[in-house]
Symmetry: C2
Subunit: 338 residues, 2 copies
DNA sequence: TTGTACGCGTTATCAA
DNA sequence: TTGATAACGCGTACAA
């Protein structure tokens, strides 16, 4: 772990010169000195001490990626391919831009913010935020924040959000179901907030646009916690007898439901049609292959990271609402009826 | 962002005293001073600057998690639920122990090590290492390293590895297949190194233990890259006509293969039996549900992080070969024949 | 073109 | 029980 000071000593010059060469401020240094220093740097395999640099410059080159976990979904959250896929997109972008990525998972917003300030992170990527207060707290921190898939934040206008055309995508898929002749269509989700609410709204609007009335009981609420998911699925399967199609808020739930149907001898799509949302591995590998709404998760991660870095560098303002497009992927789980 | 110095000024005392209170070195401070400082700290919401602390103490409290990506598997790596699940286990453990987690993905070992030294990370978790030189390079770095799922590293004895009874698990599953009456059993994998080799060895040994000869062509090599996976799967499906069962090196491949079989009208398990390895979401949700070898991925992550932290704290030595147990999970993809 | 000296926030040593 | 002060490694005015 050699330091600049030591290098300067051994080379019989000042730390400034060494530092200048390291940072390519070559205009001020004589060619032979540059040569000499560069040779030496390579030889001793110099690596800067980032803590010292951070301290001196008051920046960290760290981008924090905070997942706000919800107690009832924690285990789901981390087996969800979505998370690793988005991490992939984020990490790649961050690394290529010369930043570093620190991950923090917590259900406590205050804790997340403490972590952020103690490390003096240059910017924050926030995923899984739902409640208004969470963001409100964060307003006293001055560093840039980019949210991912966040809705319903009061005063959201201060924050950039990278989202998806959730409502539109779900509207289109529901419209497709209706075009296929379905009129009794349920909506499956585990809550009515944020992304799920947007997708639900799309579903409901499509219903209304086609003169189909929505009833309370058309909302199928799944209990995502491990201990309750089974019985929850059983109950829903019973209730589904009154429907010809189910619009699911995610591929995960769509596939879980289809597995349950399989166990009960209900045939998809002959007995009931299923549509998902996300287009991930689960739905692609399931048979019959899942008809679903596609989103590009990796790109979402990349875009979030890119946007944050631009804000950090002052290239763009801190308030952009971006919605990535969706696309219907018609496969084999929706049947045309009549 | 208030500093200790400012606090000391405003309280009219020295930084030492403030620092002592912060660190609970209360034996040396008078009760009323403690009280006064603590009140103030709470009031101003003091957060330490970790860079400064790192610099002063020459430790970072950072644990690096480096994924060594292989070019041909990169996209797989990051959609694999395995990765997010293990990250979950690691992050939780690290956070609870008061450390921080930094993630770095690269195919270049030297780059990983540079990253590690520049941040002065206290310890390194290494996943995806295959080649000997990778580790050998790392030997010049003095900080503790814990590998995950690493085999075939020469001089592995210097490193702790958290692994799995891969060979035993695969032996047992193959034995189960044989007990079910299968004798023509293929093995599906994308390579013959590390974990995959260990599993293959278990398979082969089980064959031999039962007097079944292994032939070169019984090894089904899948090409994992997106562009080739389809044709690769098609070819394998053809070849599988000569077999009654296929032992797959992972649930992912097992499910991919079953999807292909479905498309070709081949019935699992009636026409052919399939066994997987990992017991992840994919296999659990597939129908027929996958018979597979269970491993506890989250626990693997936790154990890796716990072990690393113990080594960092000097509680245990740096050389432990740990193998987590496996367990057969018999579901519906293997048929008893005859 | 090169060197000196200081500041970043914290901890640690030693003296008062 | 408390307070000065040095040290950690780096970047950078400013001086030479």
């Amino acid at each position: 772990m050699i330091t600049i000071k030591e290098i300067a000593q051994q080379l019989n010059m000042s730390t400034t010169t060494v530092s200048n060469v390291i940072h390519g401020k070559t205009g001020e240094v004589s060619p032979q000195t540059i040569e000499r220093v560069e040779q030496f740097l390579k030889k001793v395999d110099y690596v800067p001490n980032i803590s010292a640099r951070n301290l001196a410059q008051n920046e960290s080159k760290i981008i924090g990626f905070a997942l706000k976990a919800r107690a009832d979904k924690y285990s789901n959250l981390l087996t969800d391919p979505f998370v690793s896929e988005i991490i992939g997109g984020i990490e790649e972008t961050i690394r290529k831009a010369g930043y570093f990525m620190m991950i923090y998972i917590s259900s406590d917003t205050a804790e997340i913010m403490r972590h952020v300030s103690t490390w003096n992170v240059d910017g924050l990527l926030l995923f899984g935020m739902l409640d208004d207060d969470g963001i409100r707290v964060s307003e006293k921190y001055k560093k840039p924040i980019v949210c991912i898939d966040t809705y319903s934040i009061e005063g959201l206008k201060h924050f950039t959000n990278i989202g998806l055309e959730d409502e539109k995508g779900c509207f289109q898929m529901t419209q497709y179901l209706i075009d296929c002749g379905h009129r009794k269509i349920a909506f499956l989700s585990d809550n009515m907030k944020g992304v799920d609410l947007a997708r639900f709204t799309g579903y409901k609007n499509a219903l209304e646009a086609n003169g189909i009335e929505f009833h309370e009981e058309d909302f199928f609420k799944i209990l995502p916690h491990e201990s309750q998911v089974e019985e929850s699925l059983n109950e829903l399967a019973q209730r589904s007898k009154n429907y010809t199609a189910i619009m699911c808020v995610s591929d995960l739930y769509a596939v879980m439901l289809m597995s349950k149907f399989h166990d009960l001898g209900v045939k998809v799509p002959d007995d009931i049609s299923i549509a998902g949302f996300d287009d991930n591995l689960l739905g692609r590998l399931h048979r019959p292959a899942l008809t679903t709404v596609h989103q590009n998760v990796k790109k979402k991660g990349q875009l979030a990271a890119e946007t944050l870095i631009k804000i950090i560098k002052g290239k763009i303002g801190a308030s952009n609402q971006i919605q990535l497009p969706t696309r219907l992927v018609i496969r084999d789980t929706v049947k045309k009826i009549k």
